[in-house]
Amino acid sequence: MKTYNYGTAILAAFEYLLDKYPEVFVIGQGLWSPWYVGNSMTDLDKKYGVHRIIDTPVSESACTGAAVGASLSGMRPIVVHPRIDFMLYAMDAVVNQAAKWSHMVGGQAHPAVTIRGIINRGGEQGAQHSQALHSWFAHIPGLRVVMPSTVADARDLLIASVLCDDPVMYIDDRWLYSQIQIDELPNVREIDLRTVGPRCLAVGTDLSIVGSGYSTLLALQARDELAAQGVSAEVVDLRVLNPFDPTAVVESVQKTGRVLVVDGSWRTCGMSAEVIASVVERLEPGELLAAPRRITLPDAPAPTSRVLEKIYYPDFGQVVLAAQALLSRPDTRV
């Protein structure tokens, strides 16, 4: 057993893939700098060579497109966008090309490309250095969207993403790098991404809190606080947002009767809406003990001022308050 945090778990995934699969290469900006991607890619260029770890011109569109083209030619590229905001230049390659390729060519070719988009926000960076666009990507058929929240998933789902034959958006969050405790991980076990979906991380009986990525960490922190108050919260981690399999969430809510969704993207047409709709349409009238609730970003771009930033980003205290509000209604089940 070796110990990892979120960032070094990602690094371990890169090393595993680059050691074992010659068709894997990495392309993107900042790959030869220790500054851009935290501790998640340290010294890969020195270990595997600059021909496989390609730091690029400031060309998100061409580099992402090139990765798609390489993936159609027998390679398994990983494109790295150190800040997801910048990859909006690459939307044609992701949305028009990679996501639709299999369908457009009758299922005869598949772009096995992984696009790693890093959420890197806070610190008064403002509207264009902060976005979390997983809900957007989850709207696109053909694009798998992976959002690991645990150290084990950070490693194992990156490996699963790269070994998957479909295009995958792998979204990790810099706020998770230091905040999750060091975990001991067993040796890598290759997982078929098609079998991965939302999973219950912590069992409870009074309500279900659903999160993804950093929001799952907030849910777990809130669960501890609620436990001290005698409330038993179950936490479900989405992990794969598209294609979305709501089974684990529905099963949890059927048990607890209450659902609170925490999502780090905007409210309107966001992932939180999809989760709640997917739950509600699968429950019988009366199975819900309270109206579903959600915590999201306010529908505004990220501010720079620290005062506004503090309001903008939800913290676990807000999750606790929302859970308490959910529970204030009496249990009407017989």
Binding site: P57, G69, A70, S102, G106, G107, A109, H110, G142
Partner: protein, 348 residues
Amino acid sequence: MSNGKESSLGVLVDPSRLRAPLRLSTENLVASRGVLAAMMRIRLAENRLARARRDGFIGGPVHLGVGQEAIAVGVTQHLRPSDRVFGTHRSHSHLLALGSSVHGLFAEVLGKDTGHSRGMGGSMHLWDQSKGFYGSVPIVAGTVALAVGAGLAAKLQKTGDVAVAYMGDGAVEEGVVHESLNLARIQNIPVIFVIENNLFASHMHISIRQPSDATARFAVANDIPAKVIDGNDVIAVAEAAEEAVTRARAGGGPSFIEAVTYRWYGHVDWRDDIDVGVNRSQDDVANWKARDPIARLRAAMVAHGYWSFEKDAELEANLTREVEEAWERAMQDPYPAASSLLDRVYAK
């Protein structure tokens, strides 16, 4: 140019020039029958599609490249099946020049299960990887970076294969092309950018879209060797392609070929009098038809005593039969099963 600016392309855009039979070497002559047949097959197939679209048999748009056949056929002379070719919205010629079946194209345009893309792509999303055709898409310049990536893969795989990115003159107005040229050069990628400069993007002449009609200026800006040629001269195209392919296979990186041409039909579908509702100059169309790439090759072959109008009539009859049989068969073929709507979104 039509706005009064000087053309940078000179005689290449003057359709009253360059109408004479091509100059053929002995080596050209030996290959000429196959080259002629490849161009004629493409033209007959596209004219068949034009009629079928006019008559209502085809539900979706077809972007025809009649008049531009020499470019795809010339480039293809020096490719091998393991090379990686990417196309555009106007790619019937690129596909067929690689030896892909006319029936597969027709079935695809008709949305049939037997089409090259299993009926899921239509005219604008063609695919036949067994022949080296990796795909075409209608997003302008949408495949240019993909071709760079396919070339990058070939470089990493050390196969000596090359990638080809076909695009029109409108594509160089897209930002991704400039990123792609820069990336290809700085990474020394074996990719050949082939610009079919037919002077129009949709209804807009290049003179009202760009400050110069010579798109090769972007290759110069990115330190990529460029050739600007008569795209209606299949020999000139093949020579430029040979140089580019040889350079790429030898590790010399990207090349840029600007082939000047003209499309006989409008931007989309069967009419030759309009481009997306905007009238075309019938004089220009007639003049450019006199610079017919097929007629120029044929006349040269005849002048060398290597070809006759009898042989030509026989070839055309055979190709017409092939095309008609392909069409009839495609018309009878089945449509995709309803399950294919969801089954092909992700890999199995």
